[in-house]
Subunit: 206 residues, 2 copies
DNA sequence: CCCAAATTTAATAGCTCTATTAATTTCATG
DNA sequence: CATGAAATTAATAGAGCTATTAAATTTGGG
């Protein structure tokens, strides 16, 4: 059960904690269990991170950064709008592939812990608003030119989010209920990315 | 804080428990808190339901039935396929409107508690398979006639689920981040139903 | 009005968890 | 190899939770 490794104990704690937090969320993960899985004394977890809350936050923060920056840097204004949208879906989807448990962790923590939502909201407010504004402008431009039907930017983002997040969130339920192997599911997921792009594109036709 | 009411205490316990379970899930809700909100002794919760687990299961079971039967009985084979799909999305969406916290509860419990997933899977296996089969058959029929592009039944269901669930699941996060009032959100939700139907229909075009 | 059943409460055992403190061990370095 | 800092452990306080038990209270039918 416990991890033999040449990494520093501190690093091991972070990794085990990350794994457990991802699987079960903050509340259902105990520092006792983390210590047991690492193979160290429970007090050691508190020695390095003082509180379970701080340990969690450091991990959560890092994940939030990862996701945010990945989404932010993906926009290339030299491309035509449709191409940028396509890339948006693809890149967002790929981040999910790399971090399949992230959506559930985010949902779980943000929905059950108001403090956490508050924190992330503040971080979100600091984002360059220009980004959203530019997206809205470019969209309006396309609409005016009759290339896209009249639709709000929020609506588009909600569609992307819906299509991209859900497969990852319901994955364990889906696999269990339809008796789908990991291999098959991975195939389905890859098809799904293309499917989502197609659905979004068609949804925007005038 | 405590509830004054002419209902039986047992009924009050169920209602308060349901509310709390919906908001915070099984793990984060304590029988102590339920009793406090009802305004009774904590032992009383156990007097009526013996364990917190049994109390939860009775509520969860009822909700699962509600959702399942609502979905099952919505199919009218006399209608054309497209019309039935439209109704499927609408009805499923309406159930969500009536029980906006249900998606999160289901996700949360099924994803964090393997026993619960096992249980629901068994219930699901007992469903008349014919239903899924008929859906698949009818779909294939449409595809053969060239009225719908080649797409699997699972893919369609995943699309419906994605589009319909997500707005309700992320509601609190969305409202906080975009500073949206309850009233405005309800408007958005109603528009979203139509939007989802449109997206699905377009996604199926040959 | 009485009493038995149903309801409700008080008290508490036993568990797990977080966090802290003090003691012990490890280890690099002068 | 001595020493002090860093790492680790043992022990435990203190809190909250579930579940049970026995006692107290309420209530409805005869």
């Amino acid at each position: 059960m416990d991890v033999k490794s040449d990494q520093s104990t501190e690093q091991q704690i972070i990794e085990v904690a990350e794994k457990l937090f991802m699987e079960k969320g903050f509340a259902l993960t105990s520092t006792t269990e983390i210590a047991r899985k690492v193979g160290c004394n429970q007090a050691l977890v508190h020695y390095y991170f003082r509180t379970k809350e701080k340990l969690f936050e450091s991990i959560f923060e890092r994940k939030a950064q990862l996701m945010l920056s990945a989404i932010l840097k993906m926009d290339d204004p030299t491309q035509p709008f449709e191409e940028r949208l396509r890339k948006l879906v693809e890149n967002h989807f790929d981040i999910m592939v790399e971090n399949p448990q992230l959506p559930f962790l985010f949902l779980n923590e943000l929905l059950t812990n108001p403090k956490r939502l508050e924190l992330l909201t503040q971080k979100f407010q600091m984002l360059p608003l220009t980004l959203m504004e530019r997206f809205a402008n470019d969209l309006q431009n396309e609409i005016d030119k009759g290339r896209i039907r009249n639709v709000t930017p929020i609506s588009i983002l909600l569609t992307v989010l819906s299509l991209n997040l859900t497969p990852f969130i319901i994955r364990p339920i889906f696999q269990k209920m339809t008796n789908t192997s990991d291999e098959l599911f991975n195939v389905i997921i890859q098809q799904r990315k293309q499917e989502n792009i197609l659905i979004l594109m068609r949804s925007l036709m005038p």
